[in-house]
Structures are given as C-alpha cells and as structure tokens.
C-alpha cells in the first residue's frame, strides 16, 4: 500500500505442470481488463530447469516500480518446496494461500500472516478436472483479497488459455468459483490478528 492506495505484490509458486505461469497471466489479464496497472514477471532462470516454477504479479492503481517482487503481500503456493522457499519472504500482515493437498505441514510464520489452506487438488478432482487445482487456488485468493472477482477471471480466461484448451473453459470457471466458495466458508487455520 502507498499513499495512492492499492499496491499488491503477489508470488505464485509450484512445480512445472501445475499451471503456475498460466495462473499468474490470468491474474494479470483480469487486472488489466479491470483497468488496473499490472506487471507479470515469470521465473526464467536456471531454477526453471529444476522443475520449480514461479511468477510474480504486481497490481496497482499507479505506475508499477518493479515487476520483481522481493517481499510479497500475498503468496499462493502449490507445493511444499515453494512454501519453504517463499513463505519466509511474506510481508507482515500478508496472505498465504496454501495447497493443502500437497503440503502436509503447518508453516511457522509470524502471527500477522493470514493462512488459507485449500485442498486445491482434491477440489479440482471433485470437479472432474484434476489440472484445475491452480484455478481453485486462484479463486480462493481472489475471494480473500476482494479486488477482482472469480467471474472476472473466468471472463479473462479465453485471452490467456491456448485455443486448444478452450473446451476446458467452463470447468476452469467452475474451479475458480469453487475456490472462492471454499475461502468464503473460511478455512482459516487461525484468525487474523489485527
């Protein structure tokens, strides 16, 4: 947050194949269509070859300083390695969306950080689309932050998803909504302390 208001830095991380980059691009596209300033920065370094993937998205109402995020306001992690790597970097008062389907530990974090554990893979399987776990997690994030809606993300999805996957648009829209509903029902593992 700055004097001008809204400035949100997000890291999304997981392993290759979980749709991490697509999730970041969808968030960026949704924000752009909502008229916000936005940057999206993929990891392109040597770590990509090691099987992990992450991207950084900055959303704001003012020109964005740097697309590289050191300390995120929000973190979406889809696997344990990413949790270990990025959770310590969260800002005080930050938001952690954690895929509990693949992460069995409770991170030791500052009490100010709000943790939402979402069984993203299980919920995606229930919807009949195991690959949509990323959309479930993004839906939970959007619900928690409230600056963009899961429906707006669903509308932006055709712009970032390759045409050959467009038959999955309805189920991914459903996954976004499912994630949002789950977060709304409040699966907070501990209350956010003010």
């Amino acid at each position: 947050m700055t004097a001008n208001g809204f400035y949100e830095e997000i890291i999304i991380a997981g392993f290759g194949g979980q749709g991490i980059m697509l999730t970041g691009r969808l968030l960026a596209q949704t924000a752009m269509e909502a008229g916000k300033e936005v940057t999206y920065m993929p990891s392109y370094g040597a770590e990509v070859r090691g099987g992990t993937a992450n991207c950084m998205v900055v959303l704001a109402n003012e020109p964005i300083a740097c697309p590289v995020v050191g300390r995120p306001d929000s973190l979406i992690v889809m696997n344990k390695a990413s949790l270990n790597k990025f959770a310590p970097r969260l800002k005080t008062g930050g938001l952690l969306i954690m895929n509990s389907s693949l992460i069995d530990t409770e991170p030791q974090l500052d009490d100010s950080i709000e943790i939402i554990t979402v069984p993203a893979d299980e919920l995606a399987v229930e919807l009949g689309s195991p690959k949509s776990a990323n959309m479930v997690a993004l839906g939970a994030y959007l619900q928690k932050r409230g600056h963009l809606t899961p429906d707006a993300a669903a509308q932006a999805l055709p712009d970032v998803l390759a045409k050959r996957y467009h038959k999955t648009l309805p189920v991914n829209a459903e996954a976004l909504r499912r994630g949002a509903e789950f977060a709304k029902a409040c699966c907070t593992s501990r209350a956010k302390k003010q």
Binding site: A65, G70, D159
Partner: protein, 354 residues
C-alpha cells in the same frame, strides 16, 4: 489495434519492429531474449518477410550488413555475450554507414555471467563497442510500452543517419508482461536510400565499404562520421525529469532501475525530502546538457544502476565537478529495491526540523 494487450517485452518489441516495417530479422538464440527469434520465426514468414536463424551471432550481424546494404530495414537481437560477438560487424556497419537496429536484452556478465537482468553493457553500447572511432545511438527504455515506442524511432533514426541504433533492454524488460498499445504511427520523412545496392542498371555503381586506403581518405571519412554524430548529439537527445527544480538530491537512472527510482523518489517526497530524478531515454546521445543545467545549483547527484557504475561516468562528465556524484550499483543480476534507494536518499538528505 489500439486496445490494451498484455505482452512480454521480447514479443512486444518484435511486433513493434514488424509494424515499423522491418524487412528482415537475423538472429541466434540466447536467454533472456529467445522470445524475439521465436516470435519472428512465426510472424515474419506470415508477413512475407525474411527470418533467418543464423549459425552464430557473427553470421547474424553479417547478414544484417548484407540485407542493409540492399536498402532493406533489418535487425538482429541478442543478449550480452552474443552482442560481444557481433561487435566486429557493428564496427563494419559504422564504417560502411549502413542502418541497422540491434536489440540487446542484457544479462549479467562478464563472460557467460548469468541470465539475470543487468545494465552492465552500458559502456559497450554507448562507446561504440567495436574497434574504430564511431558511435551508435542507444535507447534505454524503462517499460514495455516505451520499448514498443522506441522501435519505429530506432528504425527511422537508423535510416536517417545511416547508423546502428542499439535498443538496450534487460532481462526484466524482455521477460515481463505489461499492458501495451500497439499502433502504427506516422514516421519521419526520410532521405531516399540512393546509396543502396539495388542493381546498377541505368545509374552509376554504388559501393558499400569500410576500407579507405588512399592517404587521407579515412581521416576525411572519420570527420564525416563525426559531423554526423554531432548532429545526432544536437538533435536526438531524449530525457525525462521530475521535480528537479527544488531538489536537493537528484537521482539519475535509466531502464528498469529508473522505475524503482521513480517510486523511491515519490516516497522520499512523502517524507518531505526534496528529491527528484532525471531519466535518460537516449543513453547516447546522453542528456549532458540537462544534467549540467541541473548541476548549476548545488545538489547531490545519485546514480542508480544495475552494474558497478558505468553511466555514473557520463553523469560525472556532465556535472563536471560542480556537485558531488555518488553511485548505488547492483551488479550481476541484482535489482535495487525501492526501500534500498529510499534509504540512500535519506542518508544523503539534509535533516529538516519538523
């Protein structure tokens, strides 16, 4: 096409080059700019234009030389180590006065370095880079939109002055996505390419060369080039500044570093520190006059660079001893943060009583 689209810098600059009328692209892959040849390999044939993935960077720049000699708009792109390999060709382009656009998406050096973002090729780009007494025009854009906007200008300036224009981006700018507007705008009125090798039927032959053996001929040629560079220095400087008038501290930065500086200076102003910034958009010609003017009143100059300090030397030349010039440099892939620059500004500011 005037709607906002989300594109990464590499693809956006490639599309901007196509819109600017680039006839031929030659290149060899290297991270972090692989999206440029990948995009061009698809789009150039679609447009009925030329794409060649060369066998090396040396071949790519030589192909640029050949295509440019025929009067075609041509470009190449690479990243730091690949640009080093191209220096011989760039020097020959300068000698033969051939237009070309060279995009350098910089990575960390020296040597193979790493693939992180960097601004470590400033010296190489702004001092010519290869052998001989020559210059290249250098753009240091700081957003994907500015990267897009400088492409048509790069082609126009290359044609107008018959010289190489370097677009100096970095790994962040190449990889990051930002909303941009792509549109064709009217370009400059350009002189006819009556020097080009187009077949000498019905006219005197044209000769494109960089070899001047007769006594005195190379000195004359060099003086001609120099006169051209003076015109560029006089007419083509681009620079942006903010809140410099009352500033006690002026931060000078270009490219991605300038974005971070802008945010840090805004925060400094919120803390009632009198800070401002100057952002060179052309790195050569350098905004020497603007910086010199700012130094007429006493202020502290702080240069922020993603290197161990290269542009800082041009800032010092411009300030010419009238004020202190300090450096905050992050080499080898390091990216300065807003708080880090704000801390520097705070250290340099004169405490005001509240």
């Amino acid at each position: 096409m005037s709607e906002r689209v989300l594109m990464c810098g590499n693809e956006a600059l490639a599309e901007a080059a196509i819109i600017a009328g680039c006839d031929a692209y030659f290149g060899y892959p290297i991270t972090p700019q692989n999206e440029i040849p990948a995009y061009m390999s698809r789009r150039m044939p679609e447009e009925g234009r030329v794409f060649v993935q060369s066998e090396s960077e040396l071949a790519a720049i030589s192909m640029v030389f050949g295509a440019s000699a025929t009067g075609k708009r041509t470009m190449t792109s690479s990243s730091s180590p690949g640009i080093s390999l191209m220096q011989e060709g760039i020097s020959y382009l300068a000698g033969a006065e051939l237009p070309a656009v060279v995009v350098n998406v910089m990575r960390g050096g020296p040597g193979l370095g790493n693939i992180g973002p960097s601004q470590c090729d400033y010296f190489q780009a702004t001092r010519g880079g290869g052998h001989g007494d020559y210059r290249t025009i250098v753009f240091g854009p700081s957003s994907v939109q500015e990267l897009v906007d400088c492409m048509p200008l790069a082609f126009d300036l290359a044609d107008q002055y018959r010289m190489t224009v370097v677009v100096l981006a970095d790994g962040i700018l190449g990889q990051m996505m930002e909303p941009i507007v792509l549109e064709k705008k009217p370009g400059r009125e350009l002189p006819p390419k009556d020097w080009a090798l187009t077949g000498a039927k019905g006219r005197e032959q044209n000769i494109v060369r960089s070899l001047w053996l007769p006594e005195g001929s190379l000195e004359k040629h060099n003086n001609k080039l120099q006169a051209k560079y003076e015109q560029v220095q006089k007419n083509e400087v681009l620079c942006e500044q903010y809140e410099v008038d009352d500033a006690e501290i002026v931060v000078v930065a270009y490219g991605v570093a300038a974005r971070v500086v802008r945010a840090a200076v805004n925060k400094a102003r919120e803390n009632r520190i009198k800070a401002g910034w100057i952002r060179p958009i052309t790195l050569w010609p350098f905004p020497t006059e603007q910086i010199s003017k700012a130094a007429d009143e006493f202020r502290i100059f702080l240069t922020v660079e993603m290197s161990n300090g290269q542009m800082v030397e041009d800032v010092k030349l411009a300030v010419a001893g009238k004020a202190p010039v300090l450096l905050h440099g992050r080499p080898g892939g390091g990216v300065p943060t807003v708080d880090e620059i704000l801390d520097k500004i705070k250290q340099l500011s004169i405490p005001t009583k509240s």
